[in-house]
Symmetry: C2
Subunit: 408 residues, 2 copies
C-alpha cells in the first residue's frame, strides 16, 4: 500500500509537467538560447503559423509614425524566424549581443505572444515582455544586472501612512546585506520612478537590488538603504497591490484630476520621517540622497530645492526644467521662486548635483537648459550623456554610475 | 522654448501607450470583464485567427490521458470564443462564477497565448497563466484573497546562511501590520511549499499576504509572522533569484542528486534560529507553528516529529505518510523510528495537529492511512476535507482555515 502511494506521488511530480506540456503544445524548446559567443537563438514552436517574428530591444530600433500625431518615435526592431523541423521556428542574431538586459516578444501571425519557454518577464506600465540578460565579463552591465554569488540585501514591500495624501501608501525598500546583524546605521537613497511607473518599477525594470548588491559587494558603492517610492499622488500602490483590485495599469488614472499641484513633492517629508523611524538610518542631510527618472527627475529637482536641508546628493535622470510653474504651469509654493530656491539650495553646497540624459532623449532640450542655467550661475554639477533615448537601458546605466558616488 | 518641452513631455506620456498599442495590435479590449452578476466575459482581438479558445480552472475540468502513462488526470476545461466586430473574439461564462481566484489562458489556433489585456499572472513551476478574482460578499474567498482597505503587513525577501546546506538561501517573510511600530513580540508560522515550488509559491499562488492581512484585520487570526521557506535543499532561491540565472524552472533540477536524505528537514533549525535572531518574535514552542502543502506537508510531518519541542501547531495540507524511510525509502534519522517519534511528539501534546485533503486528491490514500494511524493511537487531530484534488484552490482554503486556529 505504502509503495503504491509513494509511486503515485513520485509519478505526479513528473506527470504534472508532462501533462501541462501536452496541454500547452508539445515538446520543450530552448528559448532564448544564449550561446557561448553571446549570439542568441530564439525558438518558437508553432506548426500552423504562417509568420513568426521576434521583436525586442536587442534588434536595431526603427522609426515609426506615432498614430494621430505628426511625430516619429523609436520602436524595437523586428526579425523573421524561419520554420524548421517539427514546426519549430528559429532566429539567431547576426552578431553577438553586447552585455545588457534585453526584452522581447514574439509576433505570431500578427499577434503578440509571450515566449512559452521563458518565464522571466517585466511589466512596463501595461506592457509585459520577456527578458534575458547577456554578460561577457565580470563587472560589465549584464553582470551588474545579474544575481551573482555575493551577499544579498533584503527587499521589502511595506506601507507608510500619508496624512497629506490621506492614505496608506506602499514602498519598496532595499536594505543592504548585513543590515539585519550589523547594528550599524545606514545612509538612505530615495529613488523615484517615472510617469506610468510605481514602487515596482525600479526594483523590476531597474534591477536595483542586483545593481546595489553587486556594487556594494565589490566595494564600489557604500552599503546603503534604497527607498523606492510611489510618486503617483493619486495612487496608494502599484497596480494589483491596492484595493482598486486587478485593474489595467495606466499612465494616469482615476483620481489624477483630484490631486493638488505638487502634492507628491509636498508629502515627501512623510516618507523620510517613516523611513527614519522604521529603519536604522543616519538621519541627516549628509546621509540622504535622492534621484529619479523622467517624472521622478522633476520630482527630485523640485523636492531637493524646496527642502534644501534634506538632500546632499541629487540625481536627475532624463528630465529637468528651468523656471516656475512645474510641468503644467501650476500654482504651488514648490513651483514658485525657482531662482531663489535654486540659489538657496546651492548656497548650502550639495555634495553632488548629477544630471544624466540620452543623446536622443526627447527631454534633452530641458536638460540642456538646466545645464546652461547651472553653468551661468556657477552652480557645480556633474553631467553624464549616453546614447539612446528615454529608456530603461539608460536608467540602469545612470543608477550604476550614480550610486557609487554617494556617501563617500 | 519651455512650452515646447512641456508639450513634448506631455505628448510622450500618452504616445508611449499609443505607439505600443500600434505595435502590439490595435485598440484595447477589456478582458476579463467581470460583470456585476459575476458572469465573466473574456475578449481577445485576433482578426486573422481561425479558432480562439479560453482554458482555465473557472471551467469544469475534463479528464485527459497522461502521455506515456496508463493514467488520466484533471485538466482545465476549454471553451470556444466567437468572433465579433473588428476581429474581437468573445466568450461569456454561462453562469456566474463562485468567489475564487481563477487562472486562464487563451489558445489561438492551438497556441497558448497570454491575455494582452491582463497584466496579472501567476507562475506555477514553469507554467505562467493569467489570473483574476471574483468576489460576491465581504469575507468570501474572493474577498479574503483580495487586497482590501485594511492595514497591510510587510513582505520581505531576505537571505539566511545555512551551514548544513552550505549556501545562503532566500526566504519570504510576512510581518503583520503594526510590526514596525508596535514593539511587541510575535508568534511565527512557518509555511512550506510543494515539489516544483519555492519561496515565491505561497506568497503568489497562495495569496498569503492578502489572506493574513484580511484575517488579522477582521480579528479572525492573531497577528503573526509568516515565514515562507525554500524547501528544495539543492536550491538557494527561486528561479531567476539565484546565481544560476534565468534558467527554466523545473520540478527537480541540477544538484538534486547530491542532496542527502532529509537534508532540508535536518537544516530547519537554522531557519528558526535566523528568524528568532532577526525578528521580534516569541521564541518558544507555544508560539511556533508549521504547515506545508504536498512535499511541504511531508516536510512538516517529519520536522515536527523529529524536533518534537519545536512546534505546537502542525498542519498537513494534501500529503501525509505512515512509516519509516521517507518518500523514497531513504536512510536518515529523520525517517527512522516513525512510531517512537510520533509517540514522543504526541506525548508532548501539540496544541493542534491538523490534516486537510481534497476528496479526489491522489495523495488521499496516504492521508487516510495517517488518520487511521492517529485514531488507532489516540493521537488527537483535526481533519478538513474539501472537494477537488491537488490544487492551489484547496491550499488557499486550508491556509484560510488553519491560520485562525493558531496561537489562541
Amino acid at each position: 500500500m505504502r509503495k503504491f502511494i509513494l509511486a503515485a506521488v513520485a509519478a505526479c511530480f513528473s506527470l504534472a509537467a508532462n501533462a501541462q506540456q501536452a496541454l500547452w503544445s508539445g515538446e520543450t524548446v530552448v528559448s532564448p538560447d544564449i550561446h557561448p559567443d553571446n549570439t542568441v537563438t530564439f525558438r518558437f514552436k508553432a506548426p500552423k503559423a504562417v509568420t513568426v517574428q521576434v521583436t525586442g530591444d536587442f534588434l536595431p530600433a526603427t522609426l515609426v509614425d506615432v498614430p494621430g500625431r505628426d511625430m516619429k518615435m523609436e520602436a524595437p526592431g523586428v526579425a523573421n524566424l524561419k520554420e524548421g523541423k517539427d514546426g519549430v521556428w528559429e532566429y539567431t542574431t547576426e552578431k553577438p549581443l553586447d552585455p545588457e538586459l534585453y526584452s522581447y516578444s514574439f509576433i505570431v501571425d500578427g499577434l503578440k505572444v509571450m515566449d512559452p519557454a521563458n518565464v522571466y518577464m517585466n511589466r512596463d506600465v501595461a506592457s509585459v515582455t520577456n527578458i534575458f540578460i547577456v554578460s561577457k565579463n565580470k563587472g560589465d552591465k549584464g553582470d551588474i544586472y545579474s544575481v551573482n554569488d555575493v551577499p544579498h540585501g533584503t527587499v521589502s514591500r511595506t506601507w507608510y501612512n500619508s496624512p497629506s495624501l490621506n492614505m496608506n501608501r506602499r514602498l519598496t525598500v532595499y536594505t543592504p546585506a548585513g543590515y539585519e546583524t550589523s547594528k550599524q546605521k545606514y545612509p538612505v537613497f530615495y529613488l523615484l520612478h517615472g510617469a506610468g511607473g510605481d514602487e515596482e518599477a525600479w526594483i523590476a525594470l531597474g534591477r536595483t537590488a542586483q545593481i546595489l548588491d553587486n556594487l556594494i559587494a565589490t566595494g564600489k558603492a557604500e552599503p546603503m538603504i534604497v527607498v523606492m517610492t510611489n510618486g503617483n499622488a493619486w495612487q496608494d500602490a502599484a497596480a494589483g497591490e491596492s484595493p482598486r483590485g486587478m485593474v489595467p495599469p495606466t499612465m494616469g488614472g482615476a483620481g489624477t484630476q483630484n490631486v493638488k499641484p505638487a502634492a507628491f513633492e509636498l508629502s515627501f517629508p512623510e516618507i523620510v520621517s517613516f523611513i527614519e523611524k522604521t529603519y536604522r538610518v543616519k538621519a541627516d542631510k549628509k546621509n540622504r540622497a535622492i534621484a529619479g527618472l523622467s517624472m521622478g527627475s522633476f520630482h527630485s529637482e523640485n523636492i531637493s530645492k524646496y527642502y534644501p536641508d534634506m538632500f546632499n546628493y541629487v540625481g536627475l535622470f532624463s528630465g529637468a526644467m528651468v523656471g516656475d510653474g512645474g510641468m503644467g504651469n501650476q500654482s504651488s509654493p514648490v513651483y514658485s521662486n525657482f531662482d531663489s530656491q535654486m540659489a538657496t539650495q546651492f548656497a548650502k553646497k550639495p555634495a553632488l548635483y548629477y544630471i544624466a540624459c540620452g543623446k536622443t532623449d526627447f527631454v534633452k532640450q530641458g536638460v540642456d537648459q538646466l545645464r546652461a542655467y547651472l553653468t551661468e550661475h556657477n552652480y557645480p554639477f556633474e553631467y553624464k550623456e549616453t546614447d539612446g533615448g528615454h529608456i530603461w537601458r539608460n536608467w540602469r546605466i545612470y543608477l550604476s554610475d550614480y550610486a557609487p558616488k554617494l556617501f563617500k
